[in-house]
Symmetry: D2
C-alpha cells in the first residue's frame, strides 16, 4: 500500500469516507483476493471485514487458518504504514486459531501494542459475531 493520496501519517482522527475509499482502492492484490474491506482507520485502531465465501474454506468446510493470518498480516501492515507514514516490512506473523467459522462475516480490529521507531507490534483480533475466533500478533520493521 503506497497511499499516494495520504502523504502524512494518520493520527488519532479517523479517515473520512473518501479517504477510506482511497485506502481500499489502493489495497489491491491479495487484500482484494481475500475480499478484505477496511471500514475504520486511525492511529489508534483499524477495522476491516471479510465475508466468508466458499473459496475461504478448506475441504472440511471451515475457514482455512491462512485466511485469519492473511487478514492479520494485511490489516496490521496497513496499520503500520498509515501510522508511520513509511514503508514497512512484515517480520513475523503469529496467529492463534481459537474457534472454527463456517459462514458469515469475520470482523477484525487492529490495535497497537508497541509503536517504536524501528519496529511496530500490532495485535489483530478477529470475531465472527460475538465470538473471538483468531488473534494475530504481527511484528513489522519500519524502513527509514
Amino acid at each position: 500500500m503506497t497511499l499516494r493520496d495520504l502523504n502524512q501519517p494518520v493520527g488519532p482522527e479517523p479517515l473520512n469516507d473518501a479517504e477510506l475509499a482511497a485506502l481500499n482502492a489502493e489495497n489491491t492484490g491479495f487484500a482484494q483476493h481475500i475480499g478484505m474491506v477496511i471500514t475504520y482507520c486511525s492511529s489508534e485502531r483499524l477495522e476491516c471485514y471479510v465475508d466468508v465465501e466458499p473459496h475461504h474454506l478448506q475441504a472440511a468446510g471451515i475457514v482455512n487458518g491462512g485466511v485469519y493470518a492473511s487478514i492479520g498480516e494485511t490489516l496490521g501492515s496497513a496499520a503500520a504504514i498509515v501510522t508511520s507514514g513509511k514503508l514497512v516490512v512484515g517480520m513475523s506473523n503469529n496467529t492463534d486459531l481459537l474457534s472454527s467459522v463456517t459462514q458469515g462475516r469475520i470482523e477484525a480490529v487492529a490495535t497497537p501494542v508497541h509503536v517504536g521507531r524501528s519496529t511496530h507490534l500490532w495485535r489483530i483480533e478477529m470475531r465472527n459475531g460475538d465470538k473471538l475466533v483468531a488473534v494475530t500478533n504481527l511484528k513489522l520493521m519500519i524502513l527509514s
Copy 2:
C-alpha cells in the same frame, strides 16, 4: 481435506501420481484460491508450490506475508491429516518472514518436528529459487 480415497494414514512410502492427483483434487477452497499444488506426500515430507501472480502481491509489489502463512497452514494441515489419518484443527501458525519475493515460484517443504497422539508440530520452509523466504511453525490438535 477429508481424503475419502485415502482411508489409511500415509506412511514413509510417498503417494503415487494418481493419489497425488486425488489429494490435490480434494484440496479445494482456499488452497485452490491461492494456487497451491502438492507435488510430494509421505509421512516424512510434503512438498508444494505456488506460482506468484498479481493477486498474491500487496500494493508495494511484493508477495503479501499472508500468502506464506497460508501456504504453511494449508500444507502443514494436509501433512497432519494424511499422516494421522484423522481430522485435525490448526492451533497456532507462527510464520517468520525472511525475504521479499516479487515473482516466480514459491516452493514449500513440510517436515514433522513433533508427531504426538494429541498434537503435531510441522515446520514448513518456503523458498524462491535457492533463497529461504519464509518459515511456518504450525501446531495442530489431532481430533480423536
Copy 3:
C-alpha cells in the same frame, strides 16, 4: 502448582491475602528461583512482580529475554490452573521483547484471551514503571 488448599476453580472474586500467601508458598521451584511474587489472583486477572537483580541480567547489563518468557510462562500457567481447577501443560510460549530493562521492578498482568474446555490462551503484559517491555502469549492444554 497443585494448589492443595484451593480445591475449586477460582472465580471472579479475587483470592484473599491468606489464599495468595498459600498460592505463593506452593509456587516453588523456578518461580521462586526467578523471584516471582503473585499479588492478585482471580479468574479475570492475575498479577505478579519480579524485582530485577544481577542474576536476571545478561552480560550487557540488561534483563535477559528469558526472564520475561519465564514470567509469562509461570503466571500464565498459574492462571490456567486456578481458573480451570485442573492440571495444565504449556504448549507454546510466544514472547515479544519490546524494550530493555536494567533495573527496578517488572510488573506483569495476565488476562484470558480464550478459555476453552481443552485449551486456554493467556496474554501476559509486562511493564517496568509505565513502559510496556514484553508481552507473552501462552497457549496451554487443559488435562481432563
Copy 4:
C-alpha cells in the same frame, strides 16, 4: 555477552577449549543462574546443556517451560553475537513445548535459519536424552 577476548566474528572453525572457557566465563547473570554451559561454538552451530535441578521445576515436578525459553534465548543470543561480532537485541522468542522433563540433562543445539545484515533468526532444539522436548525460534535485531 561482550566477548572482550573475541573481537572478531566467529567463523565455521569452532572455538577451542580456552576460548569456550572465556565465553562461558563472560556468560554470567541469568545464563549462570539457570546453570547453562556452552560446549561448542562456531558460526554454523552452538551447543550447550543445563543439568536439571529442583529449582528448574514447577510444583508438579516437571521442568518449567520458562527454562526452555531461557535456554533458547540465551544460546540464540550468544549465537547472534559471536557470528555477527556486534551487539544484538532479542525481538521475539517463540518456544514450542513438546514433552515433559523431570530429571537429567537438557542439551540444546542452535542453528542459523536466516543470517541477514539487520536481523538473525536462530532455531534452538532441546533434547532430554534422544527425545526432542522443546524448540525455540528466536528473532534478533543486529545493532550497527
